[in-house]
Amino acid sequence: MTDKAKRISANKRKGKSVGAALLNIPYMVWAMIFIIVPMFIVAFYAFTDADGAFTLENFKQLGEYRDNIADSFIYAFIATVITLLLAYPFAYFVTKCKESTQKIIMMLVMVPLWMNLLILTYSIMNIIEANGIINNFLQMLGLERLQMINTPGAVILGMIYNYFPYMVLPLVSVMSKIDNSLLEAASDLGSNAVSRFVRVILPLSVPGIVSGVTMVFVPSVSTFYISQKLGGSSVNMIGDIIESLINKVATRHVGAMLALVLMVIILVCIMLMNRFSDDDEGGMIV
């Protein structure tokens, strides 16, 4: 490029960036009103008492909820790991299919996302409850009924079921971008199927794993309602506790404190996770 051409394109870029900034304004306003402001409100409640005066009293109650927070993280962790183990081979299989088959499978994966979460949860209840489909089937076979609903397992199942698509989507998008010639090069250089997977496919799908794990883990930790319906009194997820605390005026400030703490812990988790992924590989969603 000549100097003149460079100048012209630089000017063009400048012009573009002014326009781009103008176009950004509605999104900035939207983000302010619906993301930044609510966060400040949460923080405000967390650091004040019923009279609106600054206090750290709320945080002193954190210890009471330590076990619930730990449980939530453990359940979310288990659910995320299982989802990853299910979704990874599934995504790999999808990317090996013909393009038309791929589209159909991906649509089927997405279908649950088009339905209301409540209805999905009720349908799971229908399947696993004491008089549900599975137990009726077992009885038909002359087997004993199983206690499935109102157990931590049911909560984890609910999480996996609801968040599975969020794991599959980033994995498929990253895996389908892996150039087949890289796999050919690997086998040309002496790699068998296992070594190809370990040395090429797995490292190149790390960005997909990181976004998938993030997108499943974060909502799982703060899950509520699903856990009430499926777990009954056997589990007390931190999400449900926050909900009930915030619903009562007297405990609203403690609820806000828990929400804030949860957010900070999740943020730290995401930051740790992102260190696994190469910054310039793309494919990051969060």
């Binding site: 010639s181 050919e184 090069a185 086998s187 790699s191 068998n192 040395r199 090429v200 190149l204 590989e281």
Partner: protein
């Protein structure tokens, strides 16, 4: 005893994709230590042939032998060949060192040996000190060198190169041609090189294999291919040629363009119809009174070393390269020496090539551009 002249042998190889025949009963043998080039236009089957040797593709029919061993069904990672891919296929998650070390790491060699051999390779391809660079930060030529080093570190008996220079600019391409040729000579291993660039094929190879329509048209040394093309396709694909309809009244006589010429070819039936090839540089321009043929100049292009002129002789347009200036519309005489006349048997390609009546610079560029799209 092992026949060293047959390292790789393909016998009766056929391949079809979606009902379209890509390779049609191909037979080919490649000797040890040779620089062999598979040359042909897009879709002629040259890359497919390479992929069969590498093991990425199993032929529908036919046998592949390596060192007299049948290797049909042997997966690529168990073959003693390595490939340089068209777009290099470097691993983006590894740096230069780890890319080159890949083949050795897969075989779990000791770290010290890996380090030594990688450094040796970096030296061979002039990339010393580049070990820690990310491959995405390298130029095209440097990526090419990494690809070469990554393949050669495994000491393959055969290196397969799939249009490795297609993505480089002209000057870099010329340098890499020399460098590849030097590496091949230094290591003494077999190179099988795929290209659509006839100049590249002629300048680098010991043996050129011209392919078209899934079949081998001709195998020979670069000079054989150029001087003694077997049919109109080869004559046209390699360099410029005037291909004229002719008859051999008897041995050492060729009749075409309304004149009987002395020639050096024999072995044809009396009055057998043939194709005559005359290279543009082999025709002398003489005064019309001394010419064996006379024609009218219809276009003149100055190309530096010589002029390229188109001469209309009895309605057939010839391309002639001459250092003497001729004006457009001028009548000139042509003189052709017996050794400039090459006679070929008629083939399915007769009459399809070698006439310059539609020739123009513009058409040439269009067809070149189409060839660049090759195998995408």
């Amino acid at each position: 005893m092992k026949d060293t002249n047959k390292l790789i042998e393909l016998k009766g190889i056929s391949v079809s994709f979606d009902g379209e025949k890509i390779l049609d009963e191909l037979d080919l043998s490649i000797g040890n230590g040779e620089f062999v080039t598979l040359l042909g236009a897009s879709g002629c089957g040259k890359t497919t042939t390479l992929r069969i040797i590498a093991g990425f593709l199993e032929p529908d029919e036919g046998e592949v032998y390596f060192d007299s061993q049948l290797i049909n069904g042997v997966p690529p990672h168990k073959r003693k060949v390595n490939t340089i891919f068209q777009r290099y296929a470097l691993f983006p998650h590894y740096n230069v060192f780890d890319n080159i070390a890949y083949g050795l790491k897969v075989r779990h060699l000791p770290k010290a040996e890996i380090k030594e051999r990688v450094n040796e390779m970096l030296k061979l391809v002039n990339l010393e000190g580049f070990g820690h660079r990310r491959v995405s930060k390298l130029s095209g030529g440097q990526q090419q060198r990494v690809a070469i080093a990554r393949a050669l570190i495994n000491h393959p008996q055969v290196l397969l190169l799939d249009e490795p220079l297609a993505a480089l600019d002209l000057k870099l391409r010329k340098d890499m041609q020399k460098e590849l040729k030097n590496i091949q000579k230094a290591l003494g291993i077999t190179f099988i090189f795929v290209t659509h660039d006839q100049e590249e094929a002629l300048s680098m190879s010991d043996t050129v294999i011209v392919m078209d329509g899934g079949k081998i048209q001709q195998i020979g040394s670069p000079t054989d291919i150029y001087n003694e093309p077997v049919n109109a396709f080869v004559a046209d694909f390699i360099g410029e040629s005037n291909i004229i309809d002719g008859v051999m009244p008897c041995n050492y006589r060729a009749q075409f363009a309304g004149h009987t010429f002395d020639c050096l070819d024999s072995g044809f039936e009396p009055n057998e119809p043939v194709d005559i090839v005359i290279r543009p540089e082999d025709v002398d321009i003489v005064p019309p009174s001394n010419g064996m043929l006379t024609g009218v100049v219809t276009s003149v292009t100055f190309l530096g070393v010589h002029y390229e002129i188109i001469v209309d002789i009895c309605g057939f347009k010839w391309m002639i390269q001459t250092t003497d200036f001729c004006g457009e519309g001028e009548t000139v005489g042509l003189s052709i020496d017996p050794d400039a006349i090459h006679v070929m048997k008629k083939s399915e390609y007769s009459g399809r090539y070698g006439d310059y009546s539609s020739f123009s610079e513009e058409m040439d560029t269009i067809s070149d551009a189409a060839e660049e799209e090759e195998d995408d």
